[in-house]
Amino acid sequence: MELIRTENLSVKRGGREVLKNVNFFLQEREKVFIIGPNGSGKTTFAETLMGFVEFEGGIFFKGKRMEGEEDFYSLRTKVGYVFQNPDDQLFSPTVEEELAFAPMNLGYSRGKVKTLVESALEKFGIRHLRDTPIYKLSGGQKRLVSIAAVMTMNPEGLILDEPTNGLDEENFLMLVDFLRSVEKAVIVITHDKNLIDALDWKKYYLKDGYLTFVK
């Protein structure tokens, strides 16, 4: 069943057409890579899907056309977006508050928020960082927390922008394991050949504004 679809999606930035008539389709629980050279518009594509960039054409979530802020608000609570730089994403004072931010905003009960937070701390092996201020985390720890913070929303889909940046081997393997086992639709934007080789997923190549299916 369809989760996200774009129809002739075009984006102009600074007078330049960054995305040109992009037609993209992602099914529920489907996992894909979006690869491409620097500055090819991969992050712009992800931000457009999340409703942060003006576009022409259509974006559909579960068959419904996204037309205004309300639609995108709903989409954002169902598709988790992990930013390229964790410092742009993590703003709470401690790891625990960071993980609780989304479920609290979604109006979940305290009990459910606690369950989600505990489960994320456990799953990502960051229980020992619970009370640690965000600015004290290392780059790799910030990356894990940023993914865990999105997972506490229990989204149906995930978009991860360069998720292996700053990860050491142990955390890289943990991420690969997580991506393999997660039962959600996933879009990974990456340059990392090791990650692409580790996961045998469909690949889309973005260059000069055109998105093409590779495998």
């Binding site: 954002r76 609290m104 905003n105």
Partner: protein, 239 residues
């Protein structure tokens, strides 16, 4: 010195609820600041000194903070002396130091987030609290970026001098910091929207008042009332 961490983590002051500490601080600071009597101001001094001892922190660090503030206050005393009112200068010096000591003991023993949470509990405007909080959260990141840029400059032969090149370099770094901060703020807002933010910062771990919070509040109010009663009855303490 790390300005981003609370002082005296071993002391009971650190464990106290930030709301109690804020109320006590405001009460004492308000009274000391408005007082024009040496006796009354000195009456509060044992309380300030007792807090300093309870802090059990790095005294060198505390005195460095006091010294930095006093470096300015000394000029005030000198000015007062020049204009023939030395007692006013000394009173201001004493009042400022007392307020500063109480602030260090009560404010700097709280994690900044606890203080922001207390502001929120005191019904300060939500936007103001968020502003405080985000400033605190990102000032370290911006500082780190500044340090990185400075390192990058040093790695390429930069030596600060009194020269146009130095001013230009600092201007570039400052401009870069401003632009980066602007873009970062935009991305953070997007990140918040991505996780259901609707304009209100919700807090997961709420603070609860404990027995020692009530005890500290009671002792503080007792000291405050005693000094006030003494002062009102016209008796002078020490002087």
């Amino acid at each position: 010195m790390n300005y981003f961490e609370a002082l005296g983590k071993e002391s009971f002051l650190y464990r106290l609820d930030a709301r109690v500490k804020l109320v006590v601080l405001l009460l004492f600071a308000w009274k000391i600041a408005l007082s024009s009597s040496f006796g009354e101001v000195l009456g509060f001094a044992p309380f300030a000194v007792a807090l300093l001892f309870c802090l059990r922190g790095d005294m060198g660090q505390i005195f460095r903070i006091l010294f930095a503030a006093d470096a300015f206050l000394v000029f005030l005393v000198i000015s007062a002396f020049i204009y023939g009112n030395i007692s006013l200068g000394l009173l201001l010096f004493l009042k400022s130091n007392e307020i500063l000591i109480i602030s260090i003991a009560l404010l700097m023993t709280s994690e900044p987030f606890q203080i922001f949470r207390a502001f929120r509990d005191f019904k300060l405007p939500a936007k103001l609290v968020q502003l405080f909080f985000l400033t605190y959260r990102y000032i370290y990141t911006i500082y780190e970026e500044y340090r990185l840029m400075m390192k990058s400059a040093y790695c390429r032969g930069f030596k600060p001098k009194t020269s146009l090149n130095t001013y230009r370099t600092y201007a570039y770094i400052l401009a870069n910091l401003l632009v980066k901060s602007y873009f970062r703020a935009d991305r953070i807002y997007k990140a918040m929207l991505c996780r259901g933010f609707k304009g209100e910062f919700l807090v997961y771990r709420e603070s609860k008042m404990k027995r020692e919070d009530y005890a500290f509040a009671a002792v503080s109010f007792l000291v405050f009332t005693m000094v006030e009663l003494w002062s009102l009855s016209g008796q002078k303490i020490f002087l």
